[in-house]
Assembly symmetry: C2
Homo-oligomer: 121 residues x 2
C-alpha cells in the first residue's frame, strides 16, 4: 500500500532565483507545495518527523487535531500521493514516515540567491 506512483525526483534543486523555472518543472513542483499548503498537513509532517524513530502510526497523530479520523486519513493520503511520506501496515497499525529527499528538493528550490539574501539578512 505504500507504493503508488511516487513522483520522480530527478530534475534537481536549482534555486528559483538562479534561472527562470521551466514550465515543466513548475508543473511538477507546484503539487508538492500544494501538499504542504495546509496547516493540518504541515503539522502532520512535523509530528511524523519528530516522533520516536522518525515514524508514527495514525493513532499517534489523530489526537493532536480536532478533526475526525477520516479527515486525518484524507490529509495523510494527500501527503502520500505527493511523495512526501510513505506508509506501511504493521499488524493493526499503519505507520507513516517522511521522504526527506523530497523535502530537501523543495527547500533547495526556495534557497534565496546569496546576493539577494545578503541585501536583507
Amino acid at each position: 500500500m505504500s507504493k503508488q506512483g511516487l513522483p520522480t525526483v530527478d530534475a534537481c534543486c536549482a534555486p528559483l532565483t538562479r534561472e527562470p523555472l521551466p514550465e515543466s518543472e513548475a508543473t511538477e513542483l507546484a503539487p508538492l507545495f500544494k501538499a504542504i499548503a495546509d496547516p493540518v498537513r504541515l503539522r502532520l509532517l512535523s509530528l511524523i518527523a519528530c516522533h520516536e524513530g522518525g515514524e508514527a502510526c495514525v493513532c499517534d497523530l489523530t489526537g493532536a487535531f480536532d478533526l475526525t479520523p477520516p479527515t486525518i486519513s484524507h490529509h495523510l493520503k494527500v501527503l502520500r500521493q505527493a511523495g512526501l511520506v510513505e506508509s506501511e501496515r504493521r499488524g493493526t497499525w499503519v505507520y507513516y514516515w517522511l521522504n526527506p529527499a523530497v523535502l530537501a528538493r523543495m527547500s533547495a528550490l526556495l534557497t534565496p540567491a546569496s546576493k539577494a539574501f545578503a541585501e536583507t539578512a
Copy 2:
C-alpha cells in the same frame, strides 16, 4: 500600493523535523506555501528574481504565459498579499521584486534534519 499588511516574519526558522510545529505557526505558514503552490506563481517568482536588477514590470512577465493580463495580475496579487513580493508603480509601469527573507524562512522550515537527510542522500 506596495504596502498592505505584510505578514510578520517573527517566529523563525526551526525546521519541521526538529520539533512539532505549533498550531499557530502552522496557521501562519500554510498561506505562504499556498501562495507558491501554483505553477504560474512559481514561474512568476522565478522570472521576477532572475530578471535584470532583481525586479520586473508586469509587461516583462505576461509574455511568458498563455494567460490574460487579469489572470497574471491576480497571481501577482496573491504573491503580494502573502508577502512574497512587493511592488511599486513607476510612471506607466508597475514593478515587482522578491522579499527574500520570506523565501528564506520557508526554505529553512523544510530543511530536513541532518540525520534523516543522511539516511537517504
